[in-house]
């Protein structure tokens, strides 16, 4: 019995030693290298090359998002990027409401016009938003030259002083008593309120206000009293009217040029840029960095503290303006533009070019757009292959050749 116990202990000891030797020690294999002695094959060599976009195959397309159809409207006062005024038109407000199955006239006690401040330059103080009455017929055909003269004192409804601490959110003005008359809605018949906005501040600046597309358009609410004869009954009701139309107008809006690449603006423009990397290059190179370089024709100005996003997407099938674009996050590059971009714009496209390596069927094209579309002060205009004086789009690729593994 004792001998068997001892034998068991010996087995256990042996297995324990074996197990400890084989499993207790985690492998650690990495040691410092000294070249060339410990660098079989040598070191990886890195190269740099620049590929120009295909001649005359880079284009801009305009009309993706119309003026006023974006998620915000622009209002500014002599801002460098553009000078803009916003316009809202509300749903018609009738002159009577139904009480006890009878249309009855009402008297207006007060009215509230609500706005949404989407973004502002938080560095500029003293912001004040002015609301003016516009003709109810205002529509998408209006221009800056038509609207701006109408935004004058005789048509002033009210102004809203925006505290310097407020960077965004709801703004409103309340009109009571005789001030309601500034709305200029005629008595009798359906009446339509349209308003225009301009701003003032301590320095030229701009703001973005809500829109119908963004779900944040201006609202118009009227608080009324209905007198029901012979009953002594008085009803207080509110009439809410949403915006049914909105737009903004710009002084001297720039027109896209065929010889340049425009991204942004209203209606929004997008640009497609095509390349043709050789199979020989794609077969043999390990791409470590690919950068799309675009030369702006003029400084790109954005609203400070409210930057625009330059988005670059790989093209799935190149059919021009309506090319389907990738939704893979890895193949979508978003770059924030600074308040003032004067230098070459560089967009990292390493993943995209690596995808071109992986599939030769994929078009070697990228689409560029500016977000938010048709709702930003930013407009980027770049040189194209048709404007050699400015500089064509180019792809700068840093790559490694196949590592010269030593044989054996």
């Amino acid at each position: 019995m004792r001998a068997r116990l001892r034998l068991g202990w010996q087995w256990a000891g042996g297995i324990a030693v074996l197990g400890a030797a084989m499993t207790a020690c985690q492998e650690r294999l990495t040691s410092p290298a000294e070249c060339p002695e410990l660098c079989p094959g040598g070191s990886a060599q890195v190269f740099d090359t620049t590929v120009i976009a295909l001649q005359d195959r880079d284009s801009s397309f305009t009309g993706y998002v119309d003026r006023g159809a974006g998620p915000a409207l622009l209002v500014s006062n002599g801002f460098t990027a553009s000078d803009d005024r916003a316009v809202y038109r509300f749903a018609p407000r009738g002159d009577s409401i139904t009480v006890r199955d009878t249309l009855r006239a009402y008297t207006v006690d007060s009215a509230v016009i609500g706005l949404t401040l989407v973004a502002r330059d938080t560095n500029v103080n003293g912001l004040k938003v002015y609301l003016y009455r516009l003709p109810p017929t205002v529509d998408s055909t209006v221009s800056f030259d038509v609207v701006d003269p109408l935004l004058a004192d005789p048509a002033l409804i009210d102004s809203i002083a925006v505290p310097d601490s407020v960077n965004g959110g709801a703004l409103q003005t309340v009109l009571r008593g005789a001030d309601v008359d500034r709305l200029g809605l005629p008595v009798g018949g359906d009446s339509v309120l349209a308003i225009g906005l301009r701003i003032a501040a301590e320095a030229p600046t701009g703001v973005r206000v809500g829109s119908i597309a963004g779900g944040t358009a201006a609202t118009f609410t009227t608080y009324v009293t209905v007198d029901v004869p012979d009953t002594g009954l008085v009803r207080n009701q509110s009439l809410n009217r949403a915006s049914v139309f909105n737009t903004f107008v710009t002084r001297d809006p720039p027109q896209p040029s065929d010889s340049l690449l425009t991204v942004g603006g209203e209606p929004s423009s997008r640009a497609i840029i095509r390349f043709e990397l050789s199979d020989a290059f794609l077969d043999s190179a390990t791409i470590v960095r690919a950068t799309l370089e675009l030369v702006p024709t003029q400084p790109i100005v954005s609203l400070p503290t409210d930057p625009a996003i330059l988005e670059t997407r790989a093209v799935l099938g190149d059919i021009g303006a309506k090319s389907p674009l990738t939704t893979q996050p890895a193949l979508v590059q978003q770059d924030t533009l600074p308040a003032l971009q004067t230098d070459t714009v560089r967009v990292e496209l390493t993943r995209v070019v690596q995808a071109w390596q992986a599939s030769r069927v994929a078009p070697q094209s990228v689409f560029m757009l500016l977000r938010p579309e048709a709702a930003s002060f930013t407009r980027a205009v770049f040189g194209s292959t048709r404007s050699p004086a400015v500089g064509a789009p180019r792809l700068r690729i840093t790559y490694q050749r196949a590592f010269p593994f030593e044989t054996p």
């Binding site: 020690c25 492998e27 990495t30 079989p40 960095r289 196949a402 054996p408």
Partner: protein, 378 residues
């Protein structure tokens, strides 16, 4: 039937076979392996020419009296120093596996073994700063290899009246090395680049051995081996061939008194045959190697030789693949070991510990190698 199943199970065990790695195995075919069992390991390899569980000479199989299976595990604790820096490393390997047994009642023994021929397991890291787009960018390079060459041996030995033992073996030398190079950049705008390649090797060799027993006290063994060449394929395309060395070995074993055996051996390999092949392929060349070992085994109880013997030994050798042209690496090792047999000598565990110093110019390393061998006689 149970014995056969156990032998088959051991033979089919999915073990990775390689010897300890070293920075001196970065060039050429790698760090040469030592096809020795755990028992010979403890005596510096001095008894390998007479150890049936070692793969140095097929004639040693003649010492087996019963079907025996054994394998060894090796733990390597290494400290590496070179002009690039120093680092402590560790690694676990399985350098030798063997199964052999007598042919019925005849004085013949056959067996197979699987051992490491060369090892190419290493990872090397270096840092530098290179100009990219006109800006200096820090880079970190990592070059790694996993794999090596293995030696699959089918061997037989025959005893002539316990005086002469002759043996022969056929070797299949095969293996692969999976290489990868990775460069990462200090600037996040650059993506790390990784490239891979796989080298595969095939070759065959033959070996002959003889052991002469002069009574019970003295034995002499000799062996010769030719490995021909290996064909080298890179990513499935033939890129060349490399001549492999001839091996010449001579060993002597002497029983000084009951319970004490001493042994010595010398092994020479003509690796310079591969020198021109390496140089032609851009390598740094190879040189012949010599290894000399001396060791002993003291058995406290001669009636029970398997009960905790004390083994000791030392060896000195040169290494074939040069890091610096004209400067051949060399190594010195001292070892001790012991073992135990149990279950009526049907199973045993052998332990060995070796301290090794290797150097060549500014490159040096020292290592503790811990070897555990398991022997089973079904």
């Amino acid at each position: 039937m149970r014995r056969a199943l156990l032998v088959l199970a051991l033979a089919a065990a999915p073990v990775a076979v390689s010897a300890q790695s070293s920075q001196f195995g970065v060039r050429g075919l790698g760090m040469p392996g030592r096809p020795i069992g755990a028992r010979a390991f403890g005596s510096g390899g001095a008894f390998a020419m007479f150890d049936p569980q070692s793969g140095l000479t097929p004639a040693a199989l003649g010492g087996l009296a019963a079907l025996t299976a054994g394998f060894a595990a090796l733990q390597d604790f290494r400290h590496v120093e070179n002009p690039g820096g120093s680092q402590s490393l560790r690694e676990t390997r399985f350098p030798h596996l063997s199964v052999a047994g007598p042919i019925g009642s005849r004085p013949g023994v056959v067996g197979v073994s699987f051992s490491n021929y060369t090892s190419r397991d290493f990872t090397l890291a270096s840092a530098d700063t290179i100009p990219l787009r006109g800006v200096p960018v820090p880079v970190t390079d990592t070059f790694a290899s996993r794999g090596g060459l293995s030696d699959l041996r089918a061997a037989g030995a025959y005893r002539f009246k316990d005086v002469w033992i002759v043996g022969g073996a056929f070797h299949v030398i095969t293996g692969s090395a999976r290489l990868s190079s990775r460069r990462s950049f200090g600037d996040a705008a650059y993506q790390a680049a990784r490239q891979r390649s796989e080298l595969s090797y095939t070759g065959v060799g033959v070996s002959l051995g003889v052991v002469r027993n002069f009574g019970k006290a003295l034995s002499v063994a000799a062996t010769v081996r030719s490995d021909g060449h290996v064909n080298v394929d890179r990513d499935s395309a033939r890129v060349g061939r490399i001549d492999l060395p001839y091996t010449f070995g001579l060993g002597v074993r002497w029983r000084a008194r009951p319970g004490l055996e001493l042994a010595s051996q010398a092994v020479m390999k003509t690796w310079s045959a591969a020198n021109s092949d390496f140089l032609a392929q851009g390598g740094t060349g190879a040189d012949n190697t010599v290894e000399v070992a001396f060791g002993g085994e003291y058995t406290p109880d001669p009636q029970r030789p398997g009960r905790r013997p004390i083994r000791f030994g030392a060896r000195y050798g040169t290494l074939p693949f040069l890091l610096v042209p004209g400067e051949q690496p060399h190594e010195l090792g001292v070892s001790i070991g012991t073992g135990i047999r149990f279950a009526k000598d049907r199973a045993g565990i052998d332990l060995g510990l070796e301290h090794v110093w290797r150097s060549a110019g500014e490159f040096s390393e020292r290592a503790f190698l811990f070897n555990v061998g398991v022997t089973v006689r079904p």
